[in-house]
Symmetry: C2
Subunit: 315 residues, 2 copies
């Protein structure tokens, strides 16, 4: 194995250590903790795990997070009413609605719900006005996963300016905002996707390659220029033993875990890439912990901005 | 000369012919013409020419355009007050503030003014919420120059899906929104800029190359893959005779015009590119007329949306 492993867990801990005194300071000045309202609809197992992790991180960090859990058969109106209550609650600084919504609510439900979040409390950065401000390079609240990737690169002393960054994936949550952040940091940026011709050749021109397309182990050695930085953003649950053996290696502790539990989470980057990349952010242990750290950072930032607004209003 | 010339003037005429019956229909239903309020601050010659062209096009098209002209020493408050009056005026469907502002207003004045425009009347598509909706692929009002380029490609039967598009320039007005539009039409998109290393090599991988960087004649033959489509978005005024001779050719009618007037407008693409490109949108006669046609289209669209809202409100 040649690649330097980028340790997202360590970077997340460093970020959270930096947040701690600011959170304590906010709590002292405001007379309450920063408040994060999390909305979960339905019983999807993965969503419950994500929400549990967020609640635990907030508690560890001194952020007062509350969970509002609606049943899987909740109506869109019920979800919107809940979001509006959190918007109106003075002690709630951030509102996070865990995606996805139950399919019964229709394909546009998630966006309707994001649209209802007060932009000043939009800690995911998914409302149109915050997306627009990101493009205009004046965002207060940047989507957590892309912001976490930028932090990981910065803290790993990997230069962005003048480099060719190739982003595989064009989602609203990762691909598009990440491309914008890299562009503002003076990378030359290429966005690839499922309709890209010669994906392998384009990827192999990257100095920084980001895989966020949701295809287990799709990025092979042949996609990577020797020495390039590779960031794996994929979170794919595999249950096929043959696929798991191929992607985890049949003598690894992670493969043993798969055999025990019947499933495992793998990224978009094949393990063989570690032999050729210069630096690699793996799954798990890479971007995941940073996403949660940036959620904490956004909640604090929203709280600080609301506190300043309150002080100004009182004058 | 090998390249097929993409005739922006003809495409703009075709678009405007398609708008005419819709404008007549709106005027009949609403009892008034679609209304466009144009704001001009100061006496910059180029800005005055742009505004005059927009007013003339609107009049030709059956759109009621009015010019509000403030002196060069107007305050930011005066400009904002004017914008708010146009926002509140029921007969104004679109508000356009001609950029740039006089330098005395400071570097953030233009954005403050755009921010004040009612998003429903934002015919330039520069307010944060409209920028965000563009990224989310659900824009009602798309910035005029990028929208015009997409129309030109479509009407010239140039495929976008699966092609590699390289955009040189990352402005909020052209580069970034155009990259987004091309991405949504399934191009693989690379954005280059002044900090790009090996710009020439990257550009030469493009199937569709768009130059919007504001450097006279910068894109030479060596930047272009033989047969590629090249779209010149540059609008650069040159006054140096040596530069003019090089870029216009000393035996051309345009060079004679330069000698007579002492200046000429040239694009970012060198004339030698016509020998190697498969298709070329030139300056002048390419993107310029389309920008104005799309402004008319946006004004009509804003008017139609407001009319529907009015009908719904009355119920």
């Amino acid at each position: 194995m040649a690649a330097r492993l980028l340790d997202g867990t360590a970077a997340a801990l460093a970020i959270r250590a930096e947040l701690a005194p600011r959170i304590a300071d906010f709590t002292r000045r405001a007379g309450r903790q920063p408040g994060l309202g999390i909305v979960l609809v339905g019983d999807k197992a993965d969503s419950q795990i994500y929400v549990t992790n967020k609640l635990k991180s907030a508690a560890d960090e001194g952020i007062g997070a509350t969970l509002s859990h609606l049943p899987a058969d909740a109506s869109l109106d019920q979800v919107l009413t809940l979001v509006r209550m959190l918007n109106a609650d003075p002690a709630t600084d951030g509102v996070l609605v865990q995606s996805p919504m139950p399919e019964a609510l229709g394909s546009t439900a998630m966006q309707s719900i994001f649209d209802a979040i007060d932009p000043a409390k939009d800690v995911d950065g998914f409302t149109p006005v915050n997306v627009g401000r990101l493009v205009q390079n004046r965002a207060d609240l940047v989507p957590c996963t892309p912001a976490g990737i930028i932090e990981l690169l910065k803290r790993s002393a990997i230069d962005i300016a003048g480099k060719h960054a190739v982003v595989i994936g064009r989602s609203d949550i990762v691909g598009k905002p990440l491309a914008t952040l890299l562009l503002h940091r003076h990378a030359t940026v290429t966005v690839c996707h499922s309709r890209t011709v010669d994906l392998q050749e384009v990827a192999a021109t990257a100095d920084i390659l980001i895989a966020a397309i949701g295809r287990p182990g799709m990025v092979r050695k042949s996609f990577v220029k020797p020495g390039a930085t590779v960031i794996d953003v994929g979170i794919n649950r595999v249950t096929d033993p043959a696929v798991a053996r191929e992607l985890l290696g049949d003598r690894s502790a992670r493969y043993e875990g798969f055999v025990k539990r019947g499933s495992a989470v793998v990224g978009d980057v094949h393990r063989e890439v570690a032999d050729i990349a210069g630096a690699l952010s793996p799954v798990p242990g890479g971007v995941g912990p940073l996403t949660i750290a940036m959620l904490m950072a956004n909640t604090l930032r929203a709280a600080e901005m609301r506190l300043i607004d309150t002080i100004v209003d009182r004058r």
